[in-house]
Amino acid sequence: MEFLSYLINGISLGSVYAIIALGYTMVYGIAKMLNFAHGDVIMVGSYLVFIGINQMGIPPLVAIIISMVACTLLGIIIERFAYKPLRGASSLAVLITAIGVSYLLQNLALLFWGSDPKSFTSVVTIPPLKLANGQLVISGETIVTIVTSTVIMIGLMLFVNRTKVGNAMLAVSEDKGAAQLMGINVNYTIALTFAIGSALAAVAGVLLCSAYPTLQPTTGAMPGIKAFTAAVFGGIGSIPGAMLGGVLLGIIEILSKAYISTQLADAIVFAVLIVVLLVRPTGLLGKKINEKV
């Protein structure tokens, strides 16, 4: 019974990682860049929800929608002013710019909201679910997280595979030049990808802060790195891979915290990643690309 509750917690944390990892992997697939600022968009989204609920007294659901819209705009602005000028430059240059954007967001948050940690009040009002005569208690946050993540994942899969715009995204990620020749607006598609990724980051931020209620300008950094790891774990660029990688990573983290060591949980997560990459160098569901001479 204990194991089952750890497992459920792991799936819950993992689905948050999966939502963040989706943002990483979609942007990577389309723009071939590691968007290091993604974790900080999560932080901005959580702050906006925090301010909306605690200082302005807006109902949680409205606050979340406002935060999603704001993060979407933020994602588009970042793409337009920082990444778009560097399209066609070396990937290292784009990476350093992304790090610059990450510093920028963290320090802006520091200026606006201060460095003292805020305690985030959970947006979830559902009572915990008691199963098996109260031996297995599933908190409301866990239920909401798992349900929301599942809905988002299914929605995203349908969007990418069934709609015209989604197919355009797949086409751009496969071959930018050919997609342009087929009449796809590449710039628009890339901006849209950033917009979706950032909106998902806002949702992930709320779910994360409801479960782990401390909010600081650096809150986004560690989940960002973990989600990035999850995206690579599942095979970066692959949407089902990001989901699988995220959930597995969450389960591994919670189980190693519970049964091995709290301090070493992160080390174990990263060690598993290295082992997986040694066996499958392009991740669990990544495509193997053969180099041509």
């Binding site: 790090i99 963290q106 990035f228 080390a267 990263f270």
Partner: protein, 363 residues
């Protein structure tokens, strides 16, 4: 005079690098003796040397080998801890020069061993996958060092991952590494002179490596791996060589950094430190060793000079970083810049200047 003329261009270039470091050293010494540099400025001298060594060694991996590494701080902390443990148990009883040199060497050797360990996955992975493995490695090292307890008594070393009492030390024993608190009460040993010597040694080894046969092999792997393999270059050997050398210098820099303070904790060497060094390398120019030296010095001092601006300084740093990347790397901006230069050179003064230069060259 003839001897200078007969030098190879690469040797000249290297001599300029050494000269630059020496001039910086002499100027700083004069300023210190004249009392111009205050205490906080003097406190920055050893960290500057540390970051120069880190940036130059990371440039070997990123610029010369062409593989992105996000875990340089991991090697630095391995070196720092192994060097500092040695310094705590025996180094400080020896004469300072010998003890310090041995500590630096031990730090370098241990970091080199870890470089070889991480070098093995490097051989299988490429690009962003490699970047994430180095990042993961750095985090693993940080977590392990945060959780480890090391003690020393008459029976030798004791290790534990639990707590101090699990070490089982006898009465002569002392705790050296105390988990997340790290090492405390260390006698300081690093000086600016020692730091400068380490910088010179690093430059000597890495600059000579780059211009040697091995260095050309490493660069050929960067430029075209398949062609390099087809010419019979042993890719495994040269990649590992670059990785191990880079890691061991990072370890030595770690020892220099650790022995500059009386305490040492693993959390100092997190992923932000790796990123900071990478920023030095990229802004100094990838593959350009002199650029790394200048960038590490200037960018380390800059935030301290901007201290009056307080909270705004890191903000300015971030904006400058983004602006520099766009100005130096964006295809459109580069096209605009070359347009601008050719426009200027076609008009007036510059055109005359170029004409004169051409004429003098013809003569």
């Amino acid at each position: 005079m003839n001897a200078i003329k007969n030098l190879k261009p690469s040797t000249c270039n290297n001599l300029i690098n050494y000269g630059m470091v020496l001039v910086f050293y002499i100027v700083v010494q004069i300023l210190v003796n004249a009392g111009v540099l205050n205490n906080s400025m003097q406190g920055m001298l050893v960290p500057i040397c540390t970051y120069v060594v880190l940036a130059v060694s990371l440039n070997l991996t990123v610029g010369i080998l062409g593989e992105l590494s996000l875990g340089h701080a991991g090697f630095m902390s391995v070196g720092a801890f192994s060097g500092a443990i040695f310094w705590m148990i025996s180094g400080s009883q020896m004469s300072p020069v010998v003890g310090f040199t041995l500590a630096i060497m031990i730090g370098g050797i241990f970091a080199g061993i870890f470089g070889a360990l991480i070098g093995i996955p490097v051989l299988r992975l490429r690009g962003d996958y490699l970047a994430i493995v180095t990042l993961a490695f750095g985090e693993i090292i940080k977590n392990l060092l945060n959780a480890i307890y090391v003690g020393w008594d008459s029976n030798g070393f004791h290790f534990s991952m639990k707590d101090v009492s699990a070490l089982g030390l006898d009465e002569s024993g002392e705790v050296i590494v105390n988990g997340a608190i790290g090492i405390t009460g260390m006698p300081k040993a690093s000086t600016f002179t020692a730091g400068t010597i380490l910088v010179i040694i690093t430059l000597f080894v890495i600059l000579n490596l780059i211009t040697s046969r091995a260095g050309r092999a490493i660069m050929s792997i960067r430029d075209n791996r398949i062609a390099a393999e087809a010419t019979g270059i042993n890719i495994t050997k040269y990649k590992l060589m670059a990785f191990i050398i880079s890691a061991s210098f990072a370890g030595m820099a770690g020892v220099l950094y650790a022995l500059n303070f009386s305490t040492l904790a693993a959390k100092k060497f997190d992923y932000n430190t790796s990123i900071l060094v990478l920023v030095f390398v990229v802004l100094g120019g990838i593959g350009n060793i002199r650029g790394s030296i200048i960038a590490a010095t200037v960018l380390y001092v800059l935030p301290e000079l901007l201290r009056e601006l307080q909270d705004y300084r890191m903000l300015i740093y971030a904006v400058v970083l983004i602006a520099m990347m766009i100005f130096n790397q964006s295809p459109q901006v580069l096209a605009w810049r070359s347009n601008f230069v050719s426009k200027i050179s076609r008009s007036g003064i510059a055109a005359r200047f170029i004409k004169q230069k051409r004429q003098s060259e013809e003569v």
